[in-house]
Each structure stands twice: as C-alpha cells, then as structure tokens.
Amino acid sequence: MAVQASPAAAQQTVLVSTDWVSQHLNDPSIRIVEVDVDTKAYGESHVPSALGWAWDTQLCDTVRRDIIPQAKFEQLLGQSGIDNSTTVVLYGDNNNWFAAWAFWQLKVYGHKDVRLMNGGRKKWIAEGRELTTDAPQVSSKSYKAQSPDNSIRAFLPEVMKASSEKSAALVDVRSPQEYSGEILAPPGLPETCQRGGHIPGAKSMPWGKACNEDGTFKNTDELKALYGGIGVTADKPAIAYCRIGERSSHTWFVLKHLLGYKNVKNYDGSWTEWGNLVAAPVEKP
C-alpha cells in the first residue's frame, strides 16, 4: 500500500510561489499557463513566457456539457509545448478558480507534475512583477493522456447516493446566499438554474475560506480545522460542488492535494445540474 504523503510534503509538490515562478520563467522543463474566469485578461497582460488557455472553449467539450475530450486534451497540451514529462504551472484570476479547474482536468487525464502558483494572478500583480502581452514561441510536442481517472470526479448518481445514504460528505463551496437559495448565481453573473438552495445534507463552506487576503492558501492546520468543523476529515469520502464546477475544483485541490485526503471528488455538474433536475430534492435552511 502506498504511503500517503504528509500535507506539508504534498504542498511542496503542487504549490509554487510567485518568487519560484519568477526564477523559472525560462526553464524549458516548465510550461506556465494562465487560465482565467475573464478570458480576455491574458491578452491584456500576463506573466512573461506564460501561455493562455480559455476555460470556456479549450477546457471543455463545446458540443455536449463535459470536460475536454481526451483527443482534444492531447492536442491542446501538445500544441502548448507540453509533453508527459513537462512540469505545468497554472495560475489565474479569482484566486486560481479556473487554474484549479485546469489542474483538476490535468489530473483526470493523469498528468504527473502539475502545480498552482500560490496567490494567482492577483498576487503577481500586487507584487509589481513584470507583465507582458507577448505570446511565447512554442514548439509542439507529442502528448499521450491516460484514460480518465473518475476516482476524482463525481457524477450525479453518486451524488444522489451521497445525499440520501450519507455515503460521502457533501461540501457546498458557493456563497452563503447561493447555499440558502436567496440567489441563484453570484451577484453579477448569469443565472443558470431553475431552483435555489442546496443538495440535502450538504454543508456550506465557501471556497474563499481556504484563502488568505493575498489570495494564497491558508496553512494546513488552519485548513484542517476549517473543514474538520463541518465534518470533512481524512477518513471520510468527500464530494465538493459549486455552480459549474470551478470553485469546487479549488476546494477539491485543497482537500486532495494540500491536506492529502485520499477520497475526494469534484462534482462538476454541480448546482447547474442539480438545481435544474425535475423532482430533485432541494434543501433550504
């Protein structure tokens, strides 16, 4: 049986600082990629040598609702100059929401070395570090993905079971107003569900609670206490969800990779699936 890495050791392999990134801008074994909520942000300015991926066209299936298909994933990474041995460093706006979404998809397809830049785009800018509008010159490489690892992805039937049989802790990472059903989507963002509220049995833990003011992640003791407070611990399966699956990728990253909890899944269908189902139970506090 594999020995589980300690949280501190796990952090070292998946998190890098802005300082570290600034020292590895021209390292050929590393590819830096920006993934933002605001898909125009990369074009306006980005970390030197970083590529940009658009979450809404390049990191999803554009025909049916799904993550990026395997063949397109292989094509995207290959065209980005990434092969199976490349270290991929992801960062983005909103404290790495969609960078975490990309991280999760890279892990679904088995990429070995993926890391997040702690603090994301916000911290890089706040620190007054160099920015550019130049896209890097990239030579394509060959990339072979592994079959999707659905041990880190929850689909509807499993979430229904978790809700009705309490077989996994459900973590609703949306804002308190979305959890309560007061609003259907975050202020300023489009509404995409028919009903408000949350999945019965889910506990509220807004994703941002895991972050410090500067956008970096809290330390492992703080994170353990935070999630332990709602019954999410290392010995129990957990499923995180939000509205469309990106905020919950962030929480999934925290539980799976910063705290090292073994059985954690991201339910990317999230509230835009559950809140649109006919006859699905909905809980409102």
Partner: protein, 84 residues
Amino acid sequence: MPKPEEYSEKKTELAGWPVNIVTYRLGTVYHTTIDNTDPGAWVVKAQGATKQEAESKALKDAQALMEKVKKSKPPTGCTSVPGF
C-alpha cells in the same frame, strides 16, 4: 517589460452587495477590476488615463449590474421528494 504600479485594493457596497475594487497602473493606463467579494468573481473591468477615471467607469457599470441581481423570497423550509 512593464511592471504594475500603484496597486490598491478596497471594499465597498453596490446595490447592497459587497464588492472589491482593485486598481493598478500599467504604463500610462490605469486598470480597475471590480469583483463581488463573495464568491469573488470578476464582474466589471475598466481602463482610464487616471485612477479616478478608471474607477468611476467601473463603478458605474458594476452598479448597473449589481442592481439586476434577483433575490428569491426568504427561504421557507425544506422540500423533499420521497424515494428520490
């Protein structure tokens, strides 16, 4: 390569919703981003020749957007469907 300067961050309320305003200067242009604090999603961006110009534009657009947020009636209880 240019570096962002004069970075500032402040919180306020628009149409009853807390928002976070970030402004910085890149070269000669001021960039303002307004996010909705919780959950923290970017909602409006604007640029201007001065900090005040960039923030005024962004605040005007953000105000209009935040006023459109629909609130449901207060939660009244739990509903469930047996056998689901």
